[in-house]
Amino acid sequence: MTGAAPPVLATRGLCKSFGSLVVADGVDLEIPAGARHALIGPNGAGKTTLVNLVTGMLRPNGGQIFLGAEDVTAAAPEQRVGRGLARTFQVNALFPALTALEAVTLAICERNGVARCWWRSIAGFTAEIDEAHAILASLSIASVCHRPTRELAYGHQRLLEIALALASRPKVLLLDEPTAGVPRSESAELFEAIAGLSRDIAVLFIEHDMSIVFRFASRITVMVSGRILVEGTPDEIAHDEQVRAVYLGSRHHG
């Protein structure tokens, strides 16, 4: 990435530990604009922790987080969203009683700063409703957008996770196992939707299915025990001896 534009997201020496358990140990990460960057590693490697640190849901013990040129290490989670950082959750974190349309409209109202308006009817916010509908349509879930979220099929709920994140118009989108719990046959379809996102959005995704990782990622970072083991192109990672040891080591005796 020499000579390229500055990364849209970067971490420097990010550290976090719970007591004696170190979950992030000097993590340096750089995500350039428009990247499709996969974060892989065995269970407990600290991938979700890293997402939680970057989004501000956890406070790091040390290190810095940059969005563009701006240091956001001390910013509240909602402020980081305002500066273009959005995320989805590994386990659905939706609004069960709201319809998909209401949920996405709410997210757009929050982005536009009109969610504090209590004296005007929501029906008058047609621009927000239209945009919400367009986002849902782009992910092919507009046909079920009037149903309460809790009644949606699981795969549709996973897409709604992404729709809610997109509603904040992110520059960087963090996807924490977007296909978790989705049948293998449908997960490729779900990733087609992610691959179809605008190139203005940089995507960092955690994923366990290697066929998906190697198909969609332009760069891959491998984490082990809170540390970055290696980073490179899919080709480099596929032929890396260390990665093979981590992923295949336990199976050697099988």
Binding site: A76, E78, L98, L106, R116, W118, A123, H133, H146, A165
Partner: protein, 327 residues
């Protein structure tokens, strides 16, 4: 359907949920029936309207934003004492009394919300309970101001709008309370159907996700808690003005608990839940306490258990489900 017509359909779908329904018009027309059918029970009717407003204020925080409170009587009592003290010290004009009571309750509500917005669930129940008890005890010991257990004496209200004297039959009391309830309801209805109202439901459903979509959930909570406290204060002031007394009971734990019972009975988060709950609870108490005053709580307890077991979303929730099934 093309994408454009579907988008238009989306707008229409949201507009439809906000529209006035025939049942709502019938409900408000029915609130006028006591004038004709029960002219001797207008005092009770006015008390029901006041309690309904109190329940409506709780619905805003509990039913919509999911903030549990066991001390909401604190704001009811603050409004009641503000209106009472104003009158005792020479200012008996009812409407400005309401406004000032709302202001006092709202300011204290805002101060409380700075703490409230940081907690959820069990911690919230304990904090609101504690605040309620604290205020009750403070009013009890400050008897030079509040009259203590004897209540505040010497409340004399002027005529409403300089025209209508508070009469013995409760004609003015019910008209006045009903008008204030209706106007407050219009306000709450608008809040609930605004972007802010949508954000409140978002907080109730998943406050973590609210943060993840860039919302400051705490700012929303502080705002709705302040509005709710002000409305509870108006309800309290109405009680003072229509009964010309203020007792310590307005601040009591029992009032906080009862309003919660009414809301759960009617159905929280449904705008009319508190109103229907107040009507049923207050009329039932009036009837049962006539027959078996000792066992009143036995019946209300039975009713509450039955509703929570069989109609977890309250009476209105049960009715909505019935209508949905029949379609």
């Amino acid at each position: 359907m093309s994408t454009d017509t579907m988008a238009l359909d989306a707008r229409r779908h949201i507009a439809r949920q906000i529209r006035w329904r025939p049942a709502e018009v019938i409900f408000w027309l029915a609130t006028l029936l006591p004038f004709v059918l029960f002219p001797t029970h207008l005092v009770l009717a006015s008390q029901i309207a006041i309690t309904a407003l109190f329940a409506l204020s709780l619905d805003l925080i509990l039913g919509y934003a999911g903030i549990v409170s066991l001390g909401h009587a604190a704001f009811f009592g603050l409004g009641a004492y503000t209106a009472g003290l104003l009158s005792k010290h020479g200012w008996g004009e009812p409407l400005s009394g309401l406004v000032l009571s709302a202001l006092v309750a709202g300011i204290v509500g805002f101060a409380a919300s700075l703490v409230i917005a940081r907690f959820r669930h069990l911690a919230l129940i304990m904090i609101t309970l504690g605040m309620g008890l604290l205020l009750h005890e403070a009013a009890n010991s400050a008897s030079w101001l509040t009259g203590g257990v004897d209540g505040l004496q010497g409340v004399k209200m002027w005529q409403v709008l300089g025209q209508f004297r508070f009469d013995l039959y409760g004609y003015t009391a019910y008209s006045y309370a009903l008008a204030v309830l209706f106007l407050s309801f219009l306000l709450v209805r608008r809040i609930v159907h605004s972007p802010f109202g949508l954000a409140l439901r978002g907080i109730r459903e998943n406050s973590v996700r609210m943060t993840a979509i860039g919302a400051s959930a705490r700012a929303h909570v502080r705002k709705v808690y302040t509005i709710s406290a002000a409305l509870a204060g108006v309800a309290g002031a109405l009680l003072t003005q229509t009964t010309s007394t203020v007792s310590l009971e307005t601040l009591g734990f029992q009032r906080s608990a009862e309003v919660l019972v009414m809301l759960v009975l009617g159905g929280a988060g449904r705008l009319y839940g508190g109103l229907v709950g107040a009507i049923i609870f207050m009329s039932a108490r009036d009837q049962f306490s006539g027959i078996t005053p000792l066992y009143w709580y036995f019946w209300i307890g039975t009713l509450l258990v039955a509703v929570v077991l069989f109609l977890p979303n309250g009476i209105l929730g049960g009715l909505a489900r019935l209508r949905w099934r029949r379609r």
